[in-house]
């Protein structure tokens, strides 16, 4: 139920649009996040983007771990 997958925004039509990951495209609703932008990654859950993925934080985490 907590199944949520990071996917990239590829199309926006008002509150709705499409997200994509590895060639898999799905309709998504963006009404739960602020100012969605094409190219941004969002967490998709039950057809809705519930949060944006912060690239900088992801990079930071991986950098910290790599330097252990």
């Amino acid at each position: 139920m907590c199944l949520a997958v990071p996917m990239k925004i590829v199309e926006i039509n008002g509150d709705e649009g499409f997200v994509e990951s590895s060639g898999l495209k799905r309709k998504a609703n963006f009404s739960l996040i602020k100012s969605p932008k094409i190219g941004e990654y969002v967490l998709l859950h039950a057809g809705f983007a519930i949060e944006k993925v912060k690239e900088s934080e992801a990079k930071k985490t991986l950098k910290i771990l790599r330097s252990i």
């Binding site: 199944l3 997958v5 996917m7 990951s21 590895s22 060639g23 898999l24 495209k25 799905r26 309709k27 998709l44």
Partner: protein, 319 residues
Amino acid sequence: MHKLIDSLFMRELGNPILREKKDSAVVKIGKKKLAFTTDSYVVNPIFFPGGDIGSLAVYGTVNDLAVCGAKPLFISLGLIIEEGLDRDLLERIVRSISLAAKRSGVRVVTGDTKVVERGSCDKIFINTSGIGEIYYPGLSIDKIRAGDSVIVSGPIGDHAISVLSKREGISFSSKVKSDSAPLNGLIARVLKASDKVKFMRDPTRGGVATTLNEMVIGGKFGIAIDEESLPVTGGVKAGCELLGFDPLYLACEGRVLIVVQKDHADKVLRVMRPDPLGRSACVIGRVVKEFPGKVYLETLSGGRRIVGMLSGEQLPRIC
């Protein structure tokens, strides 16, 4: 399903040939060894990326013959059609069957058609039976030994994901195409190159996990799968993450699992890879003495977990 087969069919119909539970029955008529198989196809939707119920029905049966070391020769075709099925649709399916038969090198020699009232079946159901001539006798689960390599002919799960992407209520579009294809050509190459192939099976319903479990259940050996070497395309991975599926349990309709003596694995891969259907063939695991009767995964985190038979989450009407 396994329980049903054992408790009902084996009980009422059991004979030594049926009890072997191979993909095709090996029967002897005079001096000739023949392979004989049957399968029914109820896939929904009937058209999906990379195939349709017609081509599926031919390739599925061709493959069941091929994995038993037989050259597929003749197919029977039984159609159950729902009243009112669009004539165009039917024509497309029959043309697809014809093309698939040509591609596989088999002939449809007999058939039957029944039309049932609206609602009695969903558009069209197909049964195909097939006969082939055994040219590589002796393939058997009993030949499997510790140390043998387990090879898969290509990426797993494409068929299941392509069918699911077209189901009502699932709503995602995907570039993933079904892997449905005739494997008799590829298998013939393999069997020509090596005399140490022990057993083969195509991972249809229940996927690689279920098929490998069927090979070892109740036996003296286990199988270890190396998660890192499992070929899964990005599109299938994404579909699995989105829907919560495990690619190990997803049906393939144009892939074969081959158990071969370890020192012949390289030779087998070398003849598979030039074939378009075997381009990504690779070793995914090995037969082991530990955990007899079980299949386990060496995970990409360095852990281990048992990979059981598919229970519960069957995807309905995937083939």
